[in-house]
Amino acid sequence: MATINETQDELIEEFGLFEDWADKYEYLIDLGKKLSPMNEAFKTEENVIKGCQSKVWLHAEKHGDHIVFFADSEAIIVKGMISMLIRVLSNHTPAEIMQADLYFIDQIGMAQHLAQTRSNGLVAMVKQMKNYAVAFNAMA
């Protein structure tokens, strides 16, 4: 199992192959489409993160000593971002997630989607992923 930083470096390498923004976004959209569907039962009011323009749903479970995340969004580019965040953070221990520094977003040129704080719920989602780690850590 790759570490959080190894996965981030993988993503940076993958995105490094693209020449222009359109290729990057096509890849991101593709990731969004391929995101494993979230169980509808998890799409509860409690799990929703309301952005000003689109919603994100986030659910977390403890599998052994690892946290597994499930998420979805109405917007496909946000879903692509979610797919990468899950790939990086899911299946790690609460301590690893709490300490994670998500440098890949900036390096692949997608910081803009986290700068749009209110529009898409992504910033709140990252925060919420960390909150889950803190909560599971406290329970352990």
């Binding site: 923004w21 323009q53 689109s54 917007a75 496909i76 580019i77 529009s119 898409n120």
Partner: protein
């Protein structure tokens, strides 16, 4: 006044338009959110801070005199712009929202009581809904809604029925819908409201940039709008009111400028318009705003409307040819705004990708969630045009939109 509309020259007057965004020429189609500023306005701001800056109305020195004159000159220009009876009825605020809140908190507080009805339309921006809900709650009054049909046209029959079957004290409607562009028949709306003794506030945020408003001819009680949507600076708004109404209204905020005499035994208030302008106002931006009005006046008569109408027709025709695209809001009377949705695609994704092509549009609920709910939509994509936009920009936009749709499907 120029006699011919010279689009090349006009575009040069708005320096911001000439730039690359994300490696492509900027196409600015978010004019309903805010308009760009002509060089004259930018220069005026610079001039003000370089030469004239001082606090107004109180100082005796030369700079104070210049600043005061500049500030009051804009009031005079607005009186002419709106054909108001006097400059006393032009109150400077910080924007449309502030003007509406002022009326709700002063006129509303003094005049609404339990069981009164305030009518708003289903087309309103949140800033013409929430202030009325707030005062209604406080006063035990009720906010009711004038419905809108599928095309986005206000149901005037239902409106008249609401007037005839309720104790309607106040009607608050926009002149033009920011989300879908519908032009409302405000002359009729006002006439009918007055028939039952109700007062009317017109939210002019989206209309002032597109056509002339004569407050006297329309018999408007209150009109609120923002300078930044009228090619002027941000942070300035205008509230026009009928003199008798404004005089009877209690002041809004207390402080300097709005008083005549202050003592601990009691304070007397200043006259109109200062009664409603507590504290040091936004002098520089008010001053510069006057130059936006001058700029508009310098354009040939009807040119703005004709150019925008041509853009609206062309954009509508081009967009209708795109598979799966549906235009939301097809009122026969519309300003140059096209709101649309595309089957199976979230508006936010369109907005993000269009930006990469250098095209700025607005996506989302446009601060009109009740209207989105009416159409059962999470939001729309909205392209809104100004007279400085061109058909070739629409071509760039449509081309980018087609690419965007392909990328997303």
């Amino acid at each position: 006044m120029a006699d011919k509309f010279d689009i090349e020259q006009v575009r040069k007057d708005f320096p911001i338009l000439d730039q690359q965004v994300n490696g492509a020429p900027l196409v600015y189609f978010d004019n309903a959110a805010t308009t760009q500023k002509p060089q004259m306005v930018i220069d005026a701001l610079n001039h003000y801070y370089t030469r004239d800056n001082a606090n107004i109305h109180r100082g005796l020195h030369t700079l104070a005199e210049r600043a005061t004159t500049g500030y009051e000159l804009t009031r005079k220009k607005l009186k002419d712009f709106l054909n108001a009876e006097s400059t006393d009825q032009i109150i400077f605020t910080s924007g449309t929202t502030a003007g509406i809140n002022l009326v709700a908190q002063t006129y509303g507080r003094a005049n609404f009581s339990k069981g009164d009805v305030i009518l708003v339309s289903n087309l309103e921006h949140h800033s013409n809904i929430v202030p009325w809900q707030m005062i209604a709650e406080e006063k035990g009054a009720e906010v009711q809604v004038i419905p809108v049909d599928e095309a986005g046209v206000l149901d005037v029959k239902a409106y008249v029925e609401l007037l005839d079957t309720n104790r309607v004290k106040f009607v608050a409607v926009n002149h033009v819908s920011n989300a879908i562009g519908t032009i409302n028949p405000i002359s009729y709306i006002i006439e009918q409201a007055h028939r039952v003794g109700a007062k009317v506030l017109i939210d002019g945020a989206q209309s002032v940039a597109h056509f002339e408003i004569d407050v006297q001819a329309l018999d408007i009680d209150f009109l609120a709008f923002s300078a930044h949507k009228l090619f002027g600076p941000t942070g300035v708004g205008v509230l026009y009111g009928k003199r008798t109404l404004l005089e009877a209204m209690p002041p809004y905020q207390g402080g300097g400028e709005m008083i005549k005499e202050v003592s601990f035994a009691g304070t007397t208030y200043n006259e109109l318009p200062y009664k409603f302008e507590a504290g040091t106002p936004n002098i520089a931006d008010v001053y510069a705003f006057g130059f936006a009005l001058d700029y508009l006046k310098s354009l040939p008569k009807n040119a703005v409307w004709e150019q925008e109408k041509a853009l609206l027709d062309y954009a509508t025709e081009q967009l209708m040819q795109i598979d799966g695209l549906r235009i939301v809001g097809q009122a026969p009377e519309k300003i140059a705004v096209v709101s649309f949705v595309i089957d199976g695609v979230h508006p936010q994704d369109i907005g993000v990708l269009l930006d990469k092509f250098g095209v700025a549009i607005r996506t989302g609920h446009h601060c009109a969630q009740p209207l989105m709910a009416r159409y059962e939509l999470v939001g729309t994509c909205r392209a809104s045009f100004a007279f400085y936009n061109t058909k070739s920009e629409i071509d760039l936009f449509v081309k980018a939109l087609k690419r965007t749709i392909t990328m997303l499907s």
